[in-house]
């Protein structure tokens, strides 16, 4: 088991390094060979500026994938549903609505945007948990409720963008999802907040391992279930909110990355966490490389690309986990 984990993690890290290099070298402007890439880094000139731009973009894609993946994994363990993802359950769209409202109202400084996004994400999470608890939903019923919430929040976001006036273009391109337009201060702030959320989730890895056995057994074995759920939920909302500021409401990475990690190492949280993080970061980078080159010179929307890959997987997993039976 340990050997399997180590070989899976080594493979994931190698893929991640390759994608990092590719992310710096590939783009519509120019494709650099690894050799040309190294030369461009050390020589003054336009190539260095291109690499620097791509480096910031790569950091954004890396942290986007990593954060969404880890928050998806933690969410799945908290609500005991492998189909959960911050996007599917409406947390991303809640955070997006909060973020857009702050932008539309012209609120400043930057931390107010984050606070608004965090509040929106937390509100969405609270609504979905309250609905699930009241109606006793755990399986597919919970997913359907989340999707409904996503539609509702996205609808309000669209109206907000429509009335934003001169910022309408920004609003729509942001809603489509991209890491291309993030400013450096946003990337730095989001990276810090995402890593903070990740550290909190990693701190509670022991409790999240025991929660595999359900809340009752975990409680009997000494896990402070309410406190862990509260803190980890807030961490998920923090990560999602900070990533919404970077890229808009990008989905499905939080579903795909934990699924890949589970196929490799089973369901032990301490093994899943690093592997999911590596798989998520790779997916973030790979998705961003694809949106750069697949459109033939025009950037494709990131949200659309991850949805095209993620939606069939959700369908497949729903059938495989017999979610219908667990309504």
């Amino acid at each position: 088991m340990k050997l399997r984990f180590l070989s899976a993690l080594t493979t994931a890290l190698l893929i991640l390094i390759l994608l990092l290099v590719a992310s710096l070298g590939v783009g519509p402007y120019k494709v650099y060979s690894p050799h040309a890439l190294v030369r461009a880094v050390f020589e003054e000139g336009p190539d260095r500026a291109v690499i620097e731009y791509r480096l910031w973009r790569s950091i954004a894609a890396f942290i986007l994938g990593l954060g969404l993946a880890v928050s998806g994994l933690a969410l799945q363990r908290l609500i005991n549903n492998p189909l959960a993802d911050p996007y599917i359950l409406g947390i991303s769209s809640g955070a997006s609505l909060g973020f857009l409202a702050a932008v539309a109202l012209g609120l400043k400084p930057l931390w107010v945007w984050y606070l608004a996004a965090f509040s929106g994400g937390l509100l969405a999470y609270t609504v979905i948990v309250a609905v699930a608890t009241a109606l006793g939903l755990t399986g597919l019923g919970l997913i359907v409720s989340g999707v409904s919430l996503t539609y509702a929040f996205t609808g309000v976001s669209m109206i907000l963008i429509y009335v934003m006036g001169p910022q309408i273009q920004f609003g729509f391109s942001w809603l489509f999802g991209s890491v291309a337009y993030s400013t450096r201060d946003v990337i730095v702030a989001s990276t810090f907040l995402t890593l903070t959320g990740l550290a909190i989730i990693a701190y509670y890895r022991g409790s999240l391992t025991t929660l595999l056995l359900g809340e009752d057994v975990a409680r009997a074995l000494g896990v402070k279930v309410h406190m862990v759920k509260l803190i980890v939920s807030a961490s998920i909302a923090l990560i999602v909110a900070s990533l919404v500021a970077v890229s808009g409401p990008v989905g499905f990475i939080g579903l795909i990355a934990p699924w890949i990690a589970r196929l490799a190492v089973g369901a032990g949280f301490t093994r899943l966490l690093p592997l999911t993080a590596a798989a998520g970061a790779s997916l973030g980078l790979a998705s961003d490389i694809l949106v750069r080159i697949a459109g033939g010179g025009r950037e494709l929307p990131l949200t659309a690309l991850t949805a095209i890959i993620g939606a069939p997987l959700l369908f497949y997993l729903t059938l495989k986990t017999k979610g219908v039976e667990r309504l």
């Binding site: 088991m1 799945q76 363990r77 005991n80 492998p82 022991g206 409790s207 391992t209 025991t210 929660l211 595999l212 056995l213 359900g214 009752d216 057994v217 409680r219 009997a220 074995l221 000494g222 589970r262 196929l263 089973g266 369901a267 032990g268 495989k320 986990t321």
Partner: protein, 238 residues
Amino acid sequence: MCRVLVENQTVTLDGKDVLRDVNLDVEGGITAIIGPNGAGKTTLLKSIAGIVAPSKGRVLVCGLEAREASRMIAYVPAYLMVDPHAKVEDVIEAYLHGVRGVDVESVLKSSGLERFRGRKFNTLSGGEHKLVLIAGAIARNPKLLLLDEPFSHLDLANQVKLAKILRGERGEGRTIIMTAHEPLHASIADRVALMNSGSIMAYGKPEDVVRRELLEKVYGVELLEITVEGGRALIPRF
């Protein structure tokens, strides 16, 4: 040995008293809680495990409030559905969190469950689930072992195997409390608590509690008493 003291305990769930003024005093050995569906057996077990808080009264486990005694307790639920990708090793590992000096491999070996290595937990039968969960719980080396319906879904061979395991654990000085649907399983216990409608109707040695007239009254059915090879069994008249 760990003493479990339940004093005047009432548990109210959704406005209904699921347990009413329950008193129980157990120290060492195996105690079986029997009774019809909805009698409150699982709720009593959960309250001892610190999962359900009493609205009145208290539960002391090894001298501590139940919620503070989790290091002494291992609890096995009647039924468990886990992540579909979870392997048997993952489930045992989840039980072992916070336990030092014990690894999953040694648990698989000592419990004779090596044949389940690498198997997905949800693909095992109900009886096999029980054996894995009980192995994980025992590996925590608890002073108090709480088992909800441990004999359900087990075939005859595994019932005998489990009885042997529980007697062995009793020999190690653990206090074991289990619930059982089938009064027959109370025969492996040292004491039996018979519950009905949230109250304990009788508590004592199996031969004093598992009696025909008492069970007929609680279950509301007619029973046949069969005596074979010096032992006796009660079966319903179908």
